[in-house]
Symmetry: C2
Amino acid sequence: MLNDEKTVLSHECEGCPIRHRAVCARCESDELERLEEIKYYRSFEAGQTIIWSGDRMEFVGSVVSGIATLTQTMEDGRTQMVGLLLPSDFVGRPGRDGSPYDVVATTDLVMCCFRKRPFEDMMSTTPHIAHRLLEMTLDELDAAREWMLVLGRKTAREKIASLLSIIARRDASLNLRPTQGALVFDLPLTREAMADYLGLTLETVSRQISALKRDGVIELEGKRHVTVPDFSRLLDEAGDDNDGGMLA
Amino acid sequence: MLNDEKTVLSHECEGCPIRHRAVCARCESDELERLEEIKYYRSFEAGQTIIWSGDRMEFVGSVVSGIATLTQTMEDGRTQMVGLLLPSDFVGRPGRDGSPYDVVATTDLVMCCFRKRPFEDMMSTTPHIAHRLLEMTLDELDAAREWMLVLGRKTAREKIASLLSIIARRDASLNLRPTQGALVFDLPLTREAMADYLGLTLETVSRQISALKRDGVIELEGKRHVTVPDFSRLLDEAGDDNDGGMLA
DNA sequence: TCGCGCGCTTGATCTGGGTCAATGAAACCC
DNA sequence: GGGTTTCATTGACCCAGATCAAGCGCGCGA
């Protein structure tokens, strides 16, 4: 389903939404060149903090491979993850200097970055880049608000199912077992990181995963490898409206 | 405080971020005229639903007076408020047709609207309007993520204090009693609406408000009129970093 | 090969906030 | 002025999930 992007690539950068979704299809070649000039890659190791809350951010960019998280922490140590960044997700706040949360690489991570100042200049002179940024920010806002429902009103079991279905949707869409509609994927987060995302403790996460396994909603091989035999069942458990069409 | 609206109507519109923050300072006069052409006002009564989740939205705009909320509901009736719209807040998703949540007027409400299609056209030809939209969307995103911390990790008492401090900041900054740094404001929400915003029940909201009153953090006159004798005390209760500068 | 540490699981117990139910108190309307 | 409605408070009890604590299993370095 993403194959046609390749035809557009000319320079590939798998997972970079600026190039793929906004630039390639519509940019003039000199815009592509200017982007190319301010672009660079950075790698991070699992566990490394990319930006501390309050730090100046010198770049915007997007995740190419691996997982990053946005995390807020209270003085007494309580932490809440406020964003989960999977490949192709955008990081950065054009027009703002600081980051209001920690950005952490939870797995080994590669990012495709653009130097911030020149990127902002391009943005202000290239309407469709600005437009794409707005699109992406609206997507993030929708995701944040959906997550507010999860945090505020769902039970622990529903929270786990919600998280699994999000990861499944994003991560497993290519690993679909087409013969039977089962999804297979690896959990990219520790139990503790899941707890931080879900507003739970790691013990509760562990218990609820065990419960979902016991009830046949998921199958586990090792601690991280998940098979979802029936995705709509998982959506039911998540309490989501399941209009069924999603995997059609 | 909004009386001057009348004097201003032909041009300025108190509480409209498009005109005030983005357009007036930087727009050419023909842009102002075009905006004027597609602008209109709408009034709603307390309790009225402005847009149902899934509905097509024909306008974008901003709150002039009154309070609106964004609400998500699960099939079984659990509801979570995902946005609180005070005067000057923006409503709308340029580039998108439907609303993913209910928009409800919780008090009598006046909105300043722009017809959506022509507004989008203007946006794509007027970079600084697009830029302002991005700014506002980033603000909303920050607010949503801050609220995720509230929902996921704070206690009931901290949640109430957080909500009060947000309303105080927005609503009471003009009603400051300068002699003593006390803040006075009216709660614009029922206990139930507060509960929906905070991921609590209305009983818990009521109990915690009583507790804050008993402990002298707030004073109540009637059910809705609040005095905060010491704002930094309230911030402490909210668990927020209180760097003190806010009211300086 | 052993031991050590980290990620995870599971059990026992505790508690914050939910649930259910009764009462109070304004506002409003005959 | 009394009845109805809506919003809020308060009490008694309960339970989902937190907390505290004990192991398990696997990878890794010596």
